[in-house]
Symmetry: C2
Subunit: 250 residues, 2 copies
């Protein structure tokens, strides 16, 4: 058994045993169980080690499953959830591929659709263009190590990047295309982030359950002269993404 | 009826009518229906105006309810959800009170508990202190205009701010206390943000349903010399908060 000898249940304090056990298992998950391909000890093993009943162990494990730390596979055991990807996306204008490479993950992209459409009010306001302007709508699903991570829809004013729909959007980053092929210089972005529940559409695309937690991130991206060049709506899986950044006092 | 004459359903295109209607109602919500205390037009009124069946209207409204734009009150009608608070929290070290005042909202704070405890591994790592050091644990629920907005638990190394538990934490900001009473200068913070589902504990405190979307934000706050002075875990209601920030290309 891999629990350290410091981990003991204290039956004299008014803290429920399942809750004490949950804390111990959580620490074990975070610091001691290194190989996430291996199941954690079984409920029987944990119960015997700590000398507590099976329902107590089950309640501790159940809560960790509900909270997303563990998941069960029938007849295989209980496994630790894959760690979240530490995204720097919020505080950088890096592209998805270099973000993933920094994390040691292999990125890939599936282009779902590229169409030209007329902008509605929302898109027009975001891009500061008249309503019913021609925009290129690009829907992509982006993966890390085969897992879908983010579903993103991008709108670009067509007159600012003619024929962009014919470029190799699967293998090249959008920013690379904008900067190399159109000689733009991307300068800044305004982003907003909201926590929402997955509808059927996002759930199916991201291979998660309807009602799972999602980060919805809207971005408006600007060139140096202030021209809006991109508006995007991105749905990040909540269970696989954690966004980090630093703040300095002004 | 308040829908503008530009909003028409097109029965000749292969886009379901309920979906076209949903888009029209969404635009109406966002741009035309100014008084959120008033219900939107009834399903019957909308059906008659657009000459579509009641189930079509119902499906459009249902999806907008599921997506959080609308909510129903029995025998009163369908209402527009309160707008999200635009939080600058992510990109500033401003305190909660000044954040809320900037939005024209009235902030208040309920101190749930202030205790002194020994740090576990997680808190010790966050504050760079030995395990089982004395820390002050401060739990607060913060409101905007009477609505609970965020449940936040803050840990402070006790030896760096002795007797802080005796200060007026209800009416004064923590940063004001740290800077005025302890003459610290707060310099920077590392934050991470995750989208999670509310457990019973957060749901009850924040007056939302279990399983609602929540922004979980962890912060480590540092003084100019790099000393960690605060570690906090904040649970923001997903339905009332939207975090915004700007990014510049490096």
């Amino acid at each position: 058994m891999l629990f350290s000898s410091k981990n003991v249940l204290d039956k004299t304090i008014p803290v429920p045993l399942y809750y004490q056990l949950k804390k111990i298992i959580l620490e074990y998950i975070q610091f001691n169980h290194k190989n996430i391909e291996e199941p954690i000890p079984t409920e029987t093993e944990i119960g015997e080690y700590f000398n507590v009943s099976r329902p107590t162990v089950r309640q501790a494990i159940n809560e960790l499953v509900v909270e997303g730390y563990l998941y069960r596979i029938k007849s295989k055991g209980t496994f630790i959830t894959k760690p979240k990807i530490k995204q720097g996306f919020l505080s950088s204008l890096d592209n998805f591929y270099s973000e993933m490479h920094k994390q040691g993950l292999t990125p890939s992209t599936k282009v779902i659709s590229v169409t030209v459409m007329e902008s509605d009010r929302e898109i027009s306001e975001a891009l500061s263009i008249p309503i019913e302007s021609k925009v290129v709508k690009l829907s992509r699903l982006r993966y890390a190590d085969q897992d879908p991570i983010v579903l993103v829809t991008t709108y670009l004013p067509q007159n600012k990047c003619p024929d962009i729909e014919t470029k190799d959007l699967m293998n090249r980053s959008l920013y690379d295309i904008l900067e190399t092929d159109y000689t733009y210089r991307i300068a800044s972005a305004k982003r907003s982030i909201e926590s929402i529940l997955a509808t059927e559409i996002e759930a199916e695309a991201l291979n998660i359950k309807k009602g799972s937690a999602i980060q919805y991130i809207e971005s408006k991206v600007y060139l140096l002269d202030g021209t809006a060049i991109e508006y995007s709506q991105a749905f990040y899986r909540g269970d696989r993404n954690k966004f980090s950044f630093e703040v300095k006092r002004e």
